[in-house]
Structure formats: C-alpha cells, structure tokens
C-alpha cells in the first residue's frame, strides 16, 4: 500500500509539477508576449514622441526665426535712423566748424569771375588776353559783410595783382547801409553793376569807359572815365515806393579820396617838365613871381590837358576830398532811371565835376541800357576842359524760339544778339562806335561772345571773349 501510495503521490506530484510548470511556462510565454507587445508599443510611443519632439523643435525654431527676423529688421531700421541722425548732426557740426564755430553765424564764400579773350584791332597785332578776379566774402552776421576782390591782370609784358575792392558793409537798418573801404563808385551803373565780364554783354566796356583799374583794359580809347573805384565811406540803400508793383527808389552818397590830376602838356616834349612845373607852381602860388609869370604861363598853358586818375590815390596827396552820389528811380520794376554826380578838387588845384544819367529797361528777353556822362575840369592855364559822351545798348535773348528739335532749341535758346552805339564828344576829336555782337550762354554765368566794332577816329576791331562767373 505504502508503495502504491507513494507511487501515486509521486505521480500526482509529478503530474502536478508538470502541470504547474507547463502552466508557468504558458504564463511566462504570455507575459513575454505581453512584454514584447508592451515593448513594441513603448517603442512606437517613443518614436511618436521623438516625432512630436522634432516637430515641436522645428516649430520652435521656425517661430524663433520669424521673431529674429522681425527683431533684426527693427534693429536695422533703428540703426539706420540713428545713422542718419548722426550723419546729419555730424554734417551740421562739420559745417559749423568749417564756417568758424567761434562765430556760429559766420560764413565764408568764394566767388569771382574771369575771362579769356582775343582782339584783332586794325593796324595792331592781334592778341589773346586774360583776367581773373577772385572775390572773397566773409559774412560775420546778418548785419556785417566783408568783401575783398583781387585781380590778376596781364598787360603788355607784365602781370600784376591788385586790390580792386576791399570793403565792409554794415546794414544799419532795412533802408540804410554803411560801406567803408575801397569800393566801386556808384556813378551810373556800369562801374558798379554790369562791368564784370560774365555780366557785360560785350567783350569790352562801352566807349565812354576807358582804361583804368578794373581789368577791362580792352577799351580802345581813354574814355571819359575809367571803371571807378576809390577809398572812402558811403551811405546807400533803397526803399519801396507806393506807386506800382516793384516801384522803388535807391540812393548812394559817398566821400572818397578822389582822383589825382596829371597835367599833360603838349609843350612838355619841347621844353621838358620845366614848363609844366612852372604852370603848377603858378597855380599853387609857390612862385613869388607867380602874378607876373602866371598869366604868361597861362597863355602858354593852352594845350595842356588834365588826366584825372581815379582809383590810384591811395594816400591822398591833399586835404581835398571828393563827394558824390546817385539816385535811382524805378517807376515799375523793369524800368530804372538814374542821375549821378561827383565833385571834387583833385591834386594840382584842379576842380572837376562829373554828371551822369543812366537808364535801363527790361521786357522779357529784351534788355536796353543807356548812359550819359559829362566831365568838366579846370585847366592849368585857365578855362575848362569839357568832354561828354554816351552809349546805348540793346540785347535780346532768343529763349522764346522753338523748332521742336531738342539740340537746335538748346543752342538757339542760348543765343543773344547785341548792338551797342556810343560817342565821345571832345574838343578836336569826336569818336563814334557802332558794335554788333552775338553771345551764346552756355550756362547762366558762362557766355561766349563775339563782336565787331565799326569805329570813327580809331581802328575797327574784332573781339572774342569767353567769360565765366562763379
């Protein structure tokens, strides 16, 4: 029994163990399967997670890029504005430094003009000529202005530099300006306004303006007066008139050193300077025998002429000063009529006076100028020396013509025909001139001029000039 019981027990245990182990195996297999499944799922989830993570990262990057770009753009705009402000400030500061930061309102400006010309006068060698006149402006403030004009002049075989203008302008009020120094004299208008080569519509001055200090030395005659400048003081200004649009009055009054009188005696070559000295001595009463000899020499003084030299009396050689003035009247803006006078006692006790009238008319392209000058002065031997003359000039700018051709229109619109007539009336010799010219304005301040002068008593001339103003 015991053996059988033990046998069945062992059998039962065996079967139980087998069953249990196979159950275990089965469970383990299930667990493994489930584990595998879970593992797979886990892996899948991990993959999904990775994908999502990548997507998230890429979205983050994308958003960051956009924001970064915006930020960069805004920064660049701000930087640009800052740069512009700095540049503008820097430019402003540079300009202030450049124009004397010590006087913030002060300004310096360089202008001027020049010309190169060609002249062929009958009976004389043809020649080129040139001049250059720089003008330095220094404006201290809106009330005070300084002006210096020098001139490089070439004549014969010499070149020279001279001070043509050195003046200060003080604007006392809207109607009055005080001028001091060496200035162009407001006698008529050519000297003061229209003599610069880029403004003058002919290559040379009008016949009544002769040689003399201001570079326009192509005048064929001595003229009545040169282009006038002198040292002194002046009050000038202008005021509107209640007549019409643009009507005005302008005025100038000055006191200057005045001219020196050089006596030219026709007998001087025969008798040397003795005769002239005697004349001068008699006039100045330096000679005790003046009363006896004066009249005798006075008769002999007939034929002596006086040359009034303006603009070269830098240290006045006598106490006598010269006074003068001009009044201009503009009934309307494009018409001006002026009257000028000058009176003084030059050296060698020569009294003189100048009387002048000027007129200007402008209508569209037409410009008309005219001047009259009369000069009277004492003569050493008694009597007066009188000379007077005039010029009239008309020019017409062809800017109104059009041929519907760009290049042709440009050339034609720059053309300006000019005609000028003039006469000098003096004892023994009247001089007449008719000049015709044609200008081409390459720029408003750069003309090319050609002209031909038909003259009486002096040779005809052909003139060319290329002038520039800057």
């Amino acid at each position: 029994m015991n053996i059988l019981f033990k046998y069945f027990l062992f059998l039962f245990l065996g079967i139980f163990i087998l069953a249990f182990s196979s159950s275990l195996n089965a469970q383990q297999s299930n667990i493994e399967k489930r584990l595998n499944a879970l593992e797979e799922k886990n892996n899948e989830l991990e993959r999904k997670y990775e994908d999502l993570l990548q997507k998230y990262e890429s979205l983050k990057v994308e958003k960051g890029l956009i924001e970064a770009e915006k930020w960069i753009e805004e920064k660049e705009t701000k930087d640009k504005q800052q740069d512009e402000t700095i540049s503008s400030l820097s430019s402003y500061v540079d300009k202030r430094i450049e124009k004397f930061s010590i006087f913030p309102e002060a300004k310096i400006f360089l202008s001027g003009y020049g010309a190169v010309g060609f002249k062929n006068q009958n009976g004389e060698p043809s020649t080129f000529n040139a001049l250059f006149a720089p003008i330095f402006h220094y404006q201290h403030s809106d009330r005070l202005h300084f002006l210096i004009e020098g001139e490089f002049e070439l004549e014969d075989d010499e070149n020279s530099f001279s001070l043509e203008i050195g003046q200060a302008d003080l604007f006392i009020n809207d109607y009055l300006t005080l001028v001091g120094g060496k200035f162009l004299i407001p006698f008529n208008t050519f000297s003061e306004r229209t003599h610069p080569s880029w403004i003058n519509k002919m290559p040379d001055p009008p016949i009544i303006y002769g040689h003399g200090g201001h570079g326009e030395h192509d005048s064929p005659t001595a003229g009545i007066i040169p282009i006038l400048s002198d040292i002194g003081i002046q009050l000038r200004g202008g005021a509107p008139l209640p007549l019409a649009k643009g009507s005005k009055i302008n005025y100038s009054f000055y006191i200057i050193n005045g001219p020196r009188a050089v006596i030219e005696d026709e007998h001087a070559e025969d008798e040397g300077d003795e005769h002239v000295d005697q004349l001068i001595a008699a006039m100045n009463e330096e000679d005790e025998h003046a009363d006896e000899e004066g009249e005798e020499h006075a008769d002999e003084g007939e034929g002596a002429n006086v040359d009034l030299q303006f603009g070269s009396n830098f240290n006045d050689i006598n106490d006598n000063k010269t006074i003068g003035g001009r009044i201009g009247f503009l009934p309307v803006w494009n018409v001006e009529l002026g009257a000028s006078f000058m009176y003084g006692e030059a050296s060698n006790n020569i009294d003189f006076y100048l009387l002048g009238f000027d007129g200007q008319f402008q209508y569209r392209g037409l410009n008309v100028l005219a001047e009259y000058i009369r000069r009277e002065n004492d003569l050493p031997g008694g009597g007066d020396q009188n000379v007077d003359g005039y010029y009239a000039q008309a020019s017409y700018r062809l800017s109104g013509l059009s041929f519907d051709n760009g290049m042709a229109d440009k050339i034609i619109n720059g053309l300006e025909p000019v005609v000028r007539v003039g006469q000098i009336f003096q004892e023994g010799e009247d001089i007449s001139q008719v000049a015709i010219g044609l200008n081409f304005w390459y720029l408003p301040s750069v003309p090319f001029k050609i002209a031909y002068q038909f003259n009486d008593e002096i040779p005809d001339s052909f003139l060319f000039q290329w002038a520039f103003g800057f």
Binding site: H137, F253, K410, G414
Partner: protein, 210 residues
C-alpha cells in the same frame, strides 16, 4: 559852384537822414506785398542772368543775398524774402534736422486729395510761387524764364498736360525738377507747401489747359 554843391549836399543829407532812423522810411502799407518769388524775379535778373537755385546751398545763398542787398540797394525786408524763397527752393534742405518736413502723402492718397482740392487757393499759391518762371498765364513766359534753359513748360498745352498724371505733377512740385529728370532750375517746394497746397496748385494748373 560851391553854393550849388552845398545845396546838393544838403539836399542829399536831408533826403537820406530819415532812413538813418531805425526802420523809418516810405510807407509800405500802400504797396502790395510781393512774394519772395516775385521779388526774386524782379530784382535778380535785371543785371545778370538768373542762377540756378541748386547751384548754391543755403549758407552760400545767405552770403550772396547779403552782397546783392548792398550792390543792388535792395531793401532789407525784400532781401530777406528773396533769401527765404531761395532757401526754401533748395530741396532737400541742407540742414534737415533744423527744419520740420511736412509729412508727405502716400501714392494712393493723391487721388483722394485731388478730389478735395481748392482751385481758388491753388491760383493764389501759383501766383505766389510759380509765376516768376511759368508766367501769369502759365505759358512759361515769366520774368525769370528769359535766361532759363530749358524754358519752363507751357502749362496751357492741353496735349502735354493730359500726358502727365497727378502723381508726376505732385513729384515735380514736391521734389523739384531733378527728381523727375527735368531742369534743375525747377525748385522743389516740399518743405514749404503741404500736400493740400500742392493738390490745390495741381488743380489750378489743370484748369490752365482746359
């Protein structure tokens, strides 16, 4: 002779002395106020040709006008008006941080602006700023036109004006001729005129060619 000279001198002194007093002189009340543009055209072309406004900057114009005030005997008030005209015509301004630049309108809004433009106001502005070159009639025959090359356009030419749109006219008035490839003598008025002013002027200009 000496008595006559004394008389002349005395007369001149009596004539000039009133002006030595601070800003006393002839009454300006009876005279119509002239614009800087008109004063420029009346004074600055009488002796020499007009110079281009852009040829000099604002500081240089200040010195030049000061010199011309003395040489040309131009009253101070007129000289200041001329200087202001020249400096305003310089566009862009030479010192932008010192000036207030009016806000400029977008391209799309010019049409709207033109709808509310005032032609009578445009006429007044045109006569103030434009007649010196373009003339009262708009035919390009103003006093300053004589020495300008090319000449100012004939604004009464309907065929020409039809070919230009409002934006173009706005640009040339606002920025000047150089900005649209035209003459540098045409100044830009953008720092002086508002958009409404420019629209008013355009409406008046259009009426000249109708």
């Amino acid at each position: 002779m000496r008595k006559i000279n004394t008389l002349i001198i005395s007369s001149l002194i009596i004539l000039i002395m009133p002006f030595a007093l601070p800003n006393k002189g002839f009454s300006e009340e009876k005279q119509q106020e002239l614009s800087g543009s008109e004063l420029w055209s009346q004074n600055c072309g009488r002796c020499h040709n007009f110079r281009g406004i852009h040829e000099f900057d604002d500081a240089q114009w200040e010195v030049i006008v000061s010199h011309m005030r003395s040489v040309g005997n131009i009253p101070g008030k007129e000289a200041r008006a001329i200087l202001k005209f020249l400096q305003q015509g310089n566009n862009p301004p030479s010192e932008p941080i010192l000036k207030v630049v009016p806000k400029k309108m977008e391209v799309s809004s010019i049409g709207e602006m033109m709808e509310s433009a005032d032609i009578s106001k445009g006429k007044a502005l045109y006569e103030t700023y434009c007649t010196s070159c373009h003339g009262m009639s708009g035919k390009g025959d103003g006093p300053a036109a004589v020495s300008l090359r090319p000449k100012p356009k004939n604004l009464t030419d309907s065929a020409y004006m039809i070919s230009l749109n409002d934006q173009y006219l706005y640009d040339v008035i606002n920025k000047g001729g150089v900005a649209v490839g035209k003459s540098p003598f045409m100044p830009g008025w953008g720092t002086t005129l508002s958009d409404e002013d420019i629209a008013d002027i355009i409406s008046y200009i259009r009426s000249l060619s109708q």
